[in-house]
């Protein structure tokens, strides 16, 4: 239950409600144990966007600066949506992969733990 106390009625909309994105939705992506990227990045994309575009374009553009990127064996990658295990289908859309507004996709690359195994 809220602990907010106010002098008057208090009703405000969320700044990031999905309707503010004109048909797109927010998606966050994080490469676990590669903290050289400091934090996840965010995209606004239509829900029809194929998952392959996330990997081949957006993730590649950002993460290929890291020497581990070329070493990834994509068959062993472990995916999560938030804290839930998740198996994305490359050819399906975000929506058909069950990815909603403001979901956080996390992926782990076993055996690749960043520069000199530091997690960076």
């Amino acid at each position: 239950m809220t602990m907010l106390k106010t002098l008057a009625p208090y009703e405000f909309k969320s700044s990031d409600a999905v309707e503010n994105y004109k048909g797109r939705q927010l998606l966050y992506v994080n490469w676990e144990r590669h903290r050289m990227f400091s934090r996840p990045f965010v995209l606004a994309l239509p829900p029809e966007t194929p998952f392959s575009e996330i990997v081949d374009r957006h993730m590649s553009e950002c993460f290929s600066y890291h020497p581990d990127w070329q070493q990834i064996d994509w068959n062993t990658v472990i995916w999560q949506n938030g804290d839930q295990p998740f198996s994305p289908d490359r050819d399906k859309s975000l929506k058909d992969n069950g990815i909603g507004h403001k979901d956080l996709i996390r992926f782990r690359t076993p055996g690749l733990d960043g520069i000199a195994g530091t997690g960076y």
Binding site: D16, H101, R106, D113
Partner: protein
């Protein structure tokens, strides 16, 4: 005939005559209508006269001492500027500390001035009203003098002229803005705990003492004198914050759980807000006085520890976040610097990789973490830069819904893992950086759903310079972010090769020969 000489009044009498005795209770209007804000938060006050300023500072004495401080300050500033003092700093990297400080601190001093002006109006008792008025004037003075002292640098170095425009727009200034916006939109008692107590008493030493001492150590007399002048007011501010806590706790036992929740909340929010101070101390000062970790131990663990031990007699316990802050002191400055280093095109100050001897200093100061986690990546990035492949991450960040920091902190107990927390409110997901921020969100979600997150706003098309048509078919959100921020490109990028670096070298050379 004997002359009767009026005896000079003692401090206590003078304080009593000049504060409480000048106040009155209203009779034409009900006191509750004149002071409508001091009851709705649930804090119960029975006797406002129990609040007394232990400095017993009256307005006449206040003006006398403050004007003396101003005279000293401006005399030193004039001397520093007339003598080309900017060329006496250790090296031009130091000036980036001032750029970071200018964007992040004076605008918040102004918010503090607004907040304390409101407190000076809303508090029922004359004691707190007078003390809050003084603090409001102090904060306004800090806002002005900080800008004045740095304005001389603005004549010579890039990236300082648009700090006021950038304050409410730039990604890395959102954490401080959110901190004060949250405090000033709370009730008066929560504001007093937030700013007067958690920030001024528990945390402000971490910001100002190392900043001033660091400025002095790096030859910046302008920042040193303005810092000292401001800091001489801080002891009074800290006292006001502590008196407020004691007053609430002594007035009614029902106040304890409310006060405790606010202490927990604001100690954490302040800790997050100060993460960038750590990187200033450890990475940005060419000559370093002490590590952020050492400062944290001295001013927060020891001093804060003494405070909470003392407040235990009221039933107050140490803030819940304390253990996590102790763990994080080994990490936050490094994590922050990497976060800024990778965005060379998105700040009005330069970043760089520490020199080998600076890295050795970091190893010595952080024996548990620096070599294990941070040195390898910094050395890798250094080699990349030297090979012409300087790191430049062009993506937009994910931020915490409460503290608005980028989501860059590790899971407590596991330095390799990122920490993510999530809440769902009215069907929408909200992400936070820690258990403490999540708890703050969950306690008052109506408030934090409104958070301004720069990257999200840009993606909505709300961060564009004038004249951009966000409905045009070829519109790309964020493509003109630099214009929106009014970011001077000369101020961006790595320090190596910057105008500041070149100009400083030339001017210093000119200063030593004809």
């Amino acid at each position: 005939m004997d002359m009767k000489v009026a005896k000079k009044l003692g401090l206590k009498e003078r304080y009593s005559l000049m504060t409480r005795d000048l106040a009155w209770d209203t009779t034409f209007q009900k006191m509750a209508d004149v002071f409508p804000q001091t009851t709705y938060e649930g804090i119960k006050i029975h006797d406002w006269d129990k609040w007394e300023d232990p400095f017993r500072l009256t307005m006449d004495a206040y003006w006398k001492y403050q004007s003396e401080k101003e005279r000293k300050l401006y005399a030193i500033l004039d001397g520093f500027n007339q003598n080309n003092g900017h060329l006496s700093v250790t090296d031009a990297r130091y000036i980036n500390v001032l750029k970071l400080f200018l964007g992040s601190t004076p605008p918040l001093e102004l918010m503090a001035a607004r907040g304390f002006s409101m407190m000076g109006r809303q508090m029922n008792g004359a004691g707190p009203r007078v003390a809050c008025q003084m603090q409001a004037v102090d904060e306004y003075r800090h806002f002005q003098t900080q800008i004045h002292s740095i304005s001389n640098y603005n004549k010579y170095y890039n990236g300082m002229d648009e700090f006021a425009h950038q304050q409410s727009r730039m990604w890395y200034l959102s954490d401080g803005k959110s901190f004060f916006d949250d405090a000033i939109t709370a009730g008066p008692f929560e504001f007093m705990v937030a700013i007067g107590f958690a920030f001024e008493y528990v945390l402000t030493n971490i910001l100002f003492v190392p900043f001033i001492s660091g400025a002095a150590y790096n030859g910046d007399m302008a920042a040193m004198t303005v810092g000292f002048s401001a800091q001489s007011d801080e002891a009074r501010h800290m006292t006001l914050g502590l008196e407020c806590i004691k007053f609430m706790l002594e007035q009614d036992p029902d106040n304890l759980p409310i006060v405790q929740r606010w202490i927990d909340k604001w100690t954490w929010r302040g800790t997050r807000k100060l993460a960038s101070v750590g990187m200033m101390m450890d990475y940005m000062l060419p000559k370093r006085i002490m590590s952020f970790k050492e400062a944290w131990e001295m001013y927060v663990e020891d001093n804060g520890g003494a405070l909470f031990k003392d407040l235990a007699r009221y039933g107050i316990t140490i803030p819940k976040c304390f253990a996590q802050t102790v763990e994080e002191k080994e990490h936050v400055s490094h994590q922050s610097w990497i976060g800024f280093y990778m965005k060379p095109g998105a700040t009005p100050f330069h970043t760089w990789i520490p020199t080998p001897d600076e890295m050795d200093w970091l190893s010595e100061k952080y024996p548990n973490t620096f070599d294990r986690y941070y040195r390898p990546v910094l050395e890798y990035l250094d080699a990349q830069e030297k090979a012409g492949n300087r790191y430049n991450n062009k993506t937009q960040p994910m931020n915490c819904q409460v503290c608005v920091s980028t989501m860059k902190f590790n899971e407590p107990g596991d330095s390799m893992e990122m920490c993510f927390r999530e809440s769902v409110y009215r069907g929408e997901k909200f992400h936070t950086c820690s258990d403490h921020c999540k708890e703050i969100f969950d306690n008052e979600p109506e408030k934090y759903v409104q958070t301004f997150i720069s990257s999200h706003q840009a993606l909505q098309g709300n961060c564009e310079p004038d004249g951009v048509d966000v409905d045009a078919p070829d519109y790309r959100p964020g493509a003109r972010m630099l214009d929106y921020w009014r970011l001077d490109e000369r101020a961006t990028g790595d320090f190596n090769g910057s105008d500041d670096q070149k100009n400083f070298a030339v001017w210093r050379e000119q200063a030593t020969k004809n």
